[in-house]
């Protein structure tokens, strides 16, 4: 009976393994090369190892001739089956959601920035890694780091033949070392400001790759605070018929050890993120706590109390001189420091929390000092803030996406986020004043977020462009014939290259990013295709009738897709879609423009911009209407020069306040025209008359 039982359980293992493999095969089809395929290979390796290990023990059972050995092997096969079934369940439960996330990975904007952050924070380490971003419904962030996960798991499995195990481990070592899953609240997907808090999860990744936690434990010998640990033991030993004293001691030690490890990881991540990002992370994290409704004095099994964490962070900002140098946020930070201090003092821990808190507190100075040494290379001190942020701030305040700095290079993501947070935290009223009164506070914040997202994307493209075409210098980019004469400011006159460059360089006219100066031609500026498109969902679309169209249902017929820079989108003959310019454009009060197709594309059959006029004072990325009039599909590559912007002198207008600033293509606003209401009513009246007429004639 026992043998049958063991064999039956083995069959359950085989069956479960088979069903799991079917699912893994399905994911294989969906995964792209750089997001998840190595993770899947690792998962497969673990499943293979479970199966190999199990079948090895079944062979051992068949070969066991001594009855007592056979009985022991039967027992082992049964235990192995139970463990194998749980392992397979764990793969279902923990790994399949991650694979699903990897298979549905969007070209999310933060991804390249985060990848670059990993490179910057781990210089000299040639570590192959996969990063998967995962939106989640819970209002929380998360980090799951897997370091040589397949190797580690396979090592744990007992093989009856050791050579088989060694071969399997060798195969696993060929896979990327790090697989990281960073999750963020889906609710904040559109908010660059809020998503700044993701820096904490990235800091976990840096801790993980750099094994900073382990270095700290090596450098700083920790010993649980004896007074609080003894008090904890006394409390636990209270019941007469409970476990033995040694068991209680072992339990308490293990719980405190786990808690200390978890809290230390959090402190490390907080310090790394604060030092790398400066006030932007601190403010974003504080804002996140408010949004999450967190209790400042409440610790949990994985995190110290928020007030205590904020106290550590403000300490780091102070170390970076943010509380000394006047850079715009100093007074605000000083004020916050006072509030946090009073809240941190109120935090009282008990039990294991108290042991761990006191243990860490005793070595706090040494832990922080070691962390400062580790993070020195990528710290963002107040002096850098003071030199980089004001320029970015100026552009944001003017409603311009701060992609480029004054020398034509990309603004750093850190400077952009800090400037945005400075506006959001202390200068928001002034910023709001620049927008039309009918825009709500939330809509103005949305505009700020869009400007930031655009700047982050533009900056990344600018950097990528620099890497791809470093030889594309000013000299080679110069046009053939340059005239030195300045065109007098005649109304209606087209701006030529010299005048365009003067206006661009002075900041009066904004067209950014200019990937190379050859874009500025004799009488126009070439504009490039952006990364966002709106396509029609033909199966959903019966007709577009402005009479029945509403802002809500237009989005049912059209959807937004993102095509990454370096990737392409195929536009088939007769197809139509909306694109946008890669450049963020801001026209002054005395300039208007037209968008025209470039002849190269025009001759290939691509028509762009059917609505071509750009008003004086206009801000944002232009929506392009793209249609393939040719007979063969046309590949649309973001970054390609598809059109040209011709600019003319106009009568100076009194600039109105800013409205919604688009940084991607806009859905049709046909239905929002107030005149349609009149037409609708007219039609309704006509219809009523007609139906009344029919009724009368019947009578």
């Amino acid at each position: 009976l026992e043998l049958t039982d063991a064999i039956a359980m083995s069959e359950a293992v085989s069956h479960k393994e088979f069903r799991l493999r079917v699912l893994l095969d399905a994911y294989q089809v969906e995964l792209s090369q750089d997001t998840g395929s190595s993770f899947l290979a690792g998962v497969r390796a673990i499943v293979d190892a479970v199966a190999d290990s199990h079948s090895g023990w079944l062979d051992a059972l068949n070969n066991a001739s001594v009855p007592s050995v056979r009985d022991a092997t039967v027992d082992h096969v049964r235990t192995h089956s139970v463990v194998a079934l749980r392992i397979l369940s764990n793969i279902h439960e923990h790994y399949l959601p991650l694979l699903h996330a990897a298979a549905n990975q969007s070209s999310y904007l933060f991804r390249p920035i985060l990848n670059r952050a990993i490179d910057l924070a781990t210089p000299g380490r040639k570590i192959r890694s996969e990063l998967v971003l995962v939106p989640r419904f819970e209002y929380t962030y998360g980090f799951t780091g897997l370091l040589r996960f397949a190797t580690r798991e396979v090592c744990k499995l007992p093989y009856s033949i050791q050579s088989q195990k060694k071969a399997k481990i060798r195969a696993c070592r060929a896979l990327p070392k790090v697989t990281a899953f960073v999750s963020y609240p889906a609710a904040d997907k559109e908010s660059a400001l809020k998503l700044t808090a993701i820096a904490h999860e990235m800091a976990h990744l840096i801790d993980y790759i750099g094994r900073i936690h382990q270095h700290i434990l090596k450098l700083v010998p920790l010993q649980f605070d004896s007074e609080s640990f003894d008090a904890l033991l006394e409390r636990k030993k209270g019941s007469a018929q409970g476990p033995s004293d040694e068991q209680i001691e072992a339990d308490c030690y293990e719980r405190c050890r786990k808690l200390l490890t978890a809290w230390l990881h959090e402190i490390i991540a907080d310090v790394i993120a604060t030092r790398a990002l400066g006030p932007a992370y601190f403010l974003a994290f504080r804002d996140f706590l408010t949004d999450a409704g967190a209790d400042g004095s409440q610790a949990d099994e994985e995190h110290p109390a928020p007030a205590k964490r904020l106290e550590v962070m403000i300490g780091e900002l102070s170390d970076l001189e943010y509380l000394d140098v006047d850079h715009g946020l100093r007074n605000e930070l000083r004020k916050i420091k006072g509030t946090i201090a009073s809240e941190a003092v109120r935090t009282e821990y008990e039990g294991e929390f108290r042991v761990v808190d006191r243990t860490l507190e005793q070595q706090r100075g040494r832990i922080l000092s070691a962390l400062r040494d580790y993070t020195r290379q990528y710290s963002y001190p107040a002096s850098r803030y003071a030199s980089e942020v004001p320029g970015v701030l100026k552009k944001l305040e003017a409603g311009v996406s701060p992609i480029e700095n004054d020398s034509g290079g990309a603004n750093s993501a850190i400077a952009i986020l800090n400037a945005a947070w400075q506006i959001y935290a202390i200068q928001f009223d002034e910023f709001r004043d620049k927008f039309a009164d009918n825009l709500s506070r939330e809509e103005v914040i949305d505009n700020l977020n869009r400007l930031v997202f655009k700047a982050l994307e533009g900056g990344e493209i600018l950097r990528k462009w620099g890497e791809l075409a470093p030889a594309d210098s000013e000299a080679t980019a110069e046009p053939r014939n340059t005239t030195e004469t300045t065109i007098p400011p005649i109304l209606g006159a087209t701006l030529t290259r010299k005048s365009l460059l003067e206006n661009l360089d002075s900041g009066k006219l904004v067209v950014t990013p200019i990937l190379d100066r050859a874009q500025v031609g004799e009488g126009s500026i070439d504009i490039r295709l952006g990364t966002q498109f709106i396509v029609n969902k033909r199966p959903e679309l019966s007709e577009i009738d402005p009479h029945t169209l509403t802002p809500e249902n237009i989005q049912k017929f059209q959807e937004l897709v993102v095509v990454p820079f370096e990737d392409r989108f195929m536009l088939h003959p007769g197809s139509f879609l909306l694109g946008c310019t890669m450049e963020f454009i801001a026209l002054p009060a005395d300039m208007c423009g037209f968008v025209l197709s470039r002849s190269g594309y025009g001759r290939a059959g691509l028509l762009i911009a059917t609505a071509t006029y750009v008003h004086p004072g206009w801000h944002g990325c232009l929506t392009l209407e793209l249609e393939n009039l040719g007979e063969v599909p046309i590949a649309l590559w973001p970054g390609s020069r598809v059109g040209q912007l011709v600019l003319l002198r106009a009568d100076e207008i009194l600039l109105p306040k800013l409205k919604a600033i688009p940084v991607g293509p806009r859905f049709s606003s046909l239905s929002e025209d107030p005149r349609w209401d009149k037409i609708r009513k007219t039609r309704l009246t006509k219809g009523d008359r007609a139906s009344r007429g029919t009724e009368q004639s019947r009578r």
Partner: protein, 165 residues
């Protein structure tokens, strides 16, 4: 950027991404259960005079396990937290639980530390002398309990229920 696919995450799909809290697929407790189970096969092979590749490596692992537990014992008593503590403290806890449930084994020694030291000594002897030492039964008794204790550590609900009160 840097992606070769045009993909969009729809709100409908988001539910699938919830509850991502994975750490290890083979937690320490299951690993200890497998080790103990394999040691038991190895001991039986030694006792029957038919040692195999497995019995040698299993007894070596048993010695390593008990040494890890001895190190952990030292750290628990001195309250030290070091890199080694990450590995051994769960094994130590499971060992203490197993010993607590084996009164016969406990009665042969004066204190828990001596039980662990005694077991480590028996395992080391088995490495050289095979299964001839009758004390090897203590090792068998101990690892049977470690296996069962470790398996019971990794409990999981078989159903989740969510409904209004």
């Amino acid at each position: 950027l840097g992606n070769s696919k045009v993909v969009r995450i729809t709100e409908n799909e988001l539910w699938r991404f919830q509850m991502i809290t994975t750490r290890e697929i083979i937690p320490d407790s299951l690993q200890n259960a497998l080790l103990a189970s394999r040691v038991l096969v190895g001991i039986e092979e030694l006792k029957s005079g038919t040692p195999t590749e497995n019995s040698k490596s299993a007894i070596t692992d048993a010695v390593r396990f008990l040494k890890l537990v001895l190190d952990a014992h030292q750290r628990v008593k001195t309250r030290q937290v070091s890199l080694g503590a990450l590995e051994g403290s769960l094994a130590y806890r499971e060992t203490i639980r197993a010993i607590d449930r084996l009164p016969d084994l406990q009665s042969r020694y004066e204190a828990t530390l001596q039980v662990i030291q005694g077991l480590a000594h028996i395992a080391q002897q088995a490495q050289t002398a095979g299964g001839t030492n009758p004390a090897i039964n203590q090792l068998q008794e101990f690892f049977t309990m470690v296996r069962d204790t470790s398996l019971s550590e990794d409990r999981r609900p078989i159903e989740s229920l969510s409904m209004p009160k």
